[in-house]
Amino acid sequence: MSGRVVVRLFGPAREAAGAGTVELTLPAGATAGDAVAALAAAHPGIGSLLPRSRVAVNLEYVDRATPLRPGDEIAILPPVGGG
């Protein structure tokens, strides 16, 4: 891909970034892992959470190698605490 994606942040990741939504512009061929790396560069405060977070693209859990497409909704899901 080359283009903009929306990254949604939740819980401690949202608080660390100070925003629930971040837009990223990524180069052609970018993967979910590239989006995570770009996010870490833009918001260093989230850095320690990212290795422990799951990533979802368009409501499906993915691994970091998954390729992205323009317009994808990426979500960063830190370890959960429901209940």
Binding site: F10, L59, G82
Partner: protein, 148 residues
């Protein structure tokens, strides 16, 4: 199978969950209700804040319902609700109810359900103290049915 899945800012109505599963063929209804505690390791908690990825949380509830129906085919209904937003101490933050013809399947499926919810539901919890706050991760215990 009857199902009800809710992510809600309103107080959880456990009676409504029970009513949603009313079925003359079901002789058992097991329900777990998780309520918010007033302390963490001796420190007073004033209230809690829950945050969910709502669309994914509802999908996870549906997946769990399908899993329970596969593991316990006699189950006749599943209702799950999780609060989001500010939750005062002593209020229900989560509830899961399972109905079945007999108690053993209902109890086993309910225990399995709350364990899986705590492990998989995309929900985050912040404890708010008088002097700050902390995000609290669940401790995932595989293959146990100890409530937390």
């Amino acid at each position: 199978m009857r199902t009800l899945y809710q992510i809600t800012e309103a107080k959880i109505d456990v009676g409504a969950l029970r009513d949603a599963l009313a079925d003359p063929g079901s002789g058992a209804l097991a329900m777990f209700v998780g309520t918010t505690r007033n302390a963490f390791q001796g420190k007073e908690v004033r209230y809690l804040e829950y945050e969910a990825y709502g669309a994914l949380a509802e999908l996870e509830m549906e997946r769990l319902g399908t899993e329970i129906a596969t593991l316990w085919p006699s189950v006749t209904g599943i209702a799950i609700a999780h609060r989001v937003g500010r939750v005062e101490i002593g209020e229900a933050s989560v509830a899961i109810a399972v109905s079945a013809p007999h108690r053993r399947e209902a109890l086993a499926a309910c225990a399995h359900g709350i364990d899986r919810l705590k492990a998989t539901l995309p929900v985050w919890k912040k404890e708010v103290f008088a002097d700050g706050s902390a995000w609290r991760e669940n401790v995932i215990e595989e293959d146990t049915h100890e409530g937390r």
